[in-house]
Amino acid sequence: MFKTEYHFEVKKRDWLLVVRLFGEIDHHGAVTLREDLDRLILKERPRRLVLDLSLIEFMDSAGLGLLMGRYRLMQDIGGVMVLSRPNQRIMKILRLSGMERFMEIEGVGAKGEQEDEAR
C-alpha cells in the first residue's frame, strides 16, 4: 500500500518539547499527524513546542493548516510554538501564507543531519 509516510521523534526537557517531523506533509498525512501531535501536546503540555522541520521533504498548503492549528492549540494552553530549521521550500510557502510574519522561526535552511547540541 502506498502511503504518505510520516513519523516523528520527540525530545523532552522540562517545559520544552522538541518534535522532529519526517517525510511529507500533505492532506493525506495531515489527518493522522494532527491527531498524534495534539495527543502529544495535550499530554505533555509544554510551554515551548519546537517543531523541527529540517527533514520534511515536501509540504503543501495542508501543512499550513496543520501548523496553524498547532500554533493555536499551543496558544490555548498558554505556550508558544516555534518552527525550527525549515528549508527554503517551506519558507516559500510560509511567506506566501503570511505565517512567517507572526510565527517564531529559527535556523532557516540549516541541515537536519547536524545534531544541535543546544538541546
Binding site: M1, H27, H28, D60, A62, L64
Partner: protein, 154 residues
Amino acid sequence: MKQDKRFKNEINRMSLQMPAISVNEGMARAAVAAFCAQLSPDATELADIKCAVSEAVTNCIVHAYKNRKGKFYITVSLFADRTVQIAVQDKGCGIPNVKAAMEPLYTTDAAGERSGMGFTVMENFMDRLHVTSRQGKGTLVLLSKRLGRSTEEE
C-alpha cells in the same frame, strides 16, 4: 485541453486517471514530477510543480467529490520551448464562484483546518493558472510553467 499555437511543438504527453482518494495525492505529484524530469527542471521548478499538482488533486478529493467516490484526470504536456502544461480535471460538484474560491484564505471548510491557500499556491508557484468550473459538472484546472526562467535565489 484548450489548444494554442504552441500545440504543434508538443514533444510528449501523459494522461493519468486515478480514484479520488487521498493516498493518490502523493502518487499524482510524484508521477507528474517524474514525467516533467525530461525537460530537466531545476530543483525549485520541480518542487513548485509538485506542490501545485498536490493542491489541485487535493481540491478534487476534498472539495469536488467531498471525500466520496470519483475520479480525477491529469494530462501533462511537454513543449519544445520547455513549457509544462498540466490539466487537472474532475467531474465533481463544481465551484459556484471561482473568483471567490481563488481568494487567499478562502475556504468552505473552516472546521477541517484548511488553510484556504490552495489556489494561491498554484498561482504563485506556476506561471499561469486558469480555472473553469460548472456546477454539477466539474472543474478543470490548467496550470502551466515555462522552465528556465527561475529568478529565485535557491
